[in-house]
Amino acid sequence: MSAVIETTNLTKHYGQVVAVDNLNLTLQEGEVFGLLGPNGSGKTTTILMLLGLAEPTSGDARVLGVDPARRPLEVKRRVGYLPDSVGFYDDLTATENLGYIARLNGLSWQEGGRRITDVLARMGLADVSERRVGTYSRGMRQRLGLAEVLLKQPVVAILDEPTLGLDPEAANEFLRLILDLKRDGLVVLLSSHLLHQVQVVCDRVGLFHKGRMVLEGTVETLADQVLGGAYRIRLEVGGDGLDETLAGTPGVVGVSRENGRIYRLEAKSDCRAEVARRVVSKGVPLLSLSLERPGLDEIYARHFHGGQYEA
């Protein structure tokens, strides 16, 4: 059995509002999965159901083969959770905050103390472990949250909007820590609406919209699916009248023109050589030509503004 998290037709209603709608999600061992979607698209609700903190209206969830609605303690013992906008007891030190969590997990004093020292050192908080958490910066709090997740030595880590509100440097550092987790063999479920960050660390992503997972797969396959071609070519030229020439190039699916002499081509294959040859043969100077990998941001924007998902 290799499915670590598996949901079948998982549904949650809040009154009339459908928060999660027939979700089918599978996470394999050793995988980093990104749950993406705008605020209020059902990401947090899904996570709460996976932890047994919210009861599904219908459908079924299995975490490590256990039903979290029936045996939540077993699930929570092996799954670490970092909530969005995590909070700590501000008048306690980092060590004391983690000490409480260690005791809630039933760890002995020695074992708890040893693990706390370990995780704080690993998160780079060893120097400030005796400072009150009230004095911590947002990035430090987030790392303390991750330290807490690691404290129980989980099999699965669920991180809800972990980079929200961090400055770019702190966010990148945090993403590196997530990659470390992956190297240790943890399964990571990451929720975010900051697509370009998720792209860096996730093996697969699922795009949420109004409680449904509308797209799922690796970033490359999604690009294929949504953009029709996975290649985007940007070229800058020194003249006009190229639209038809470019559109006629084999492999090119779409041409769009940005401010004056910059074109963007969508192509099914890397047809840069052919494009260059055609531009030059037209007698127009070619100033630059480059290949752009489509980002998640773009896939997302394309998909949701394509008309079929008007908000």
Partner: protein
Amino acid sequence: MRREGSPWTGVWAVFFKELADHLSSTRMLILESLTFIMALIAVFTATQTLTQTVGEDPFIFLKLFTTDRDPLPSFLFFLGLLIPLTAIALAFDAVNSEHNRRTLSRVLAQPIYRDALLLGKFLAGLTTMAIMLAALWLLITGLGIFRLGVVPSGEEVARGLLFLLATLAYAGVWLGLAMGFSVLYRQPATSALATLAVWLFFAVFWNIITQIVAQAVRPIEYGFPEEQLRQIQMQLFLSRLSPNTLYTEVLLAVLNPAQRALGPVLVTQLEGAIMGTPLPWFDSLLLAWPQLIGMIASVILLFAWAYVNFQRQEVRA
């Protein structure tokens, strides 16, 4: 849906954390100092009155609680004010502060049920009160020994312990109420005000209301004694819905060994009774048994109310 795993898991972890928080909090420090200062003043003045009658009264240590001397009221009066206040201060932000600090989802993501969190917090509050009351009782008794020069009898100690139990139950009522409101309202200020409003209602308005209602429901039309009795019984019934009345009646029975009834007594019922003779402590306990059980039952009901609301609440902030 049946859930598996013990709801008790983690209850002691929560209990000890909350207890440590309470015992070291500024809030408790202020209230405890206030209580102890008042206790000292009340007992000091009481002993001044009592030293004149040391030899005559067999229950002089109980008198320490009840004796007042103008212009100062007795220790019990102070306690009646401070117990609800302290209990409310301990619990009014028990759950909503976890919400507001965004620690709730983090704590509930640990392998515990919500039951453990609420129960642990409640027990910690109750234990804090118990520690404070026990210290207070010992302080007063010690001061009494020092000032009066006699030691308390076994009977007095037994009654003193009953007094502690009753006060703890009374504190539990306000603790449960404050905790219930802390589940219900997200703002700590709102829950504190709501609990204080209920306390004020029972402390000030309830007696007036019971009088008016009793007069309206059981009016005295012809002046028969039966009518008067029925009105008094009606009023007593209504006023016993208030925890304050229950507490006062328990204390009356426990701290006044001569007290033989709580409520109206007919002359025929007193036939053969030697007025002013003390009852054994166990009989006094029997006298106040319904009131004591009533208070404990209210504690359980209030906790259950808080519990049900907490279980239904969404975890997310």
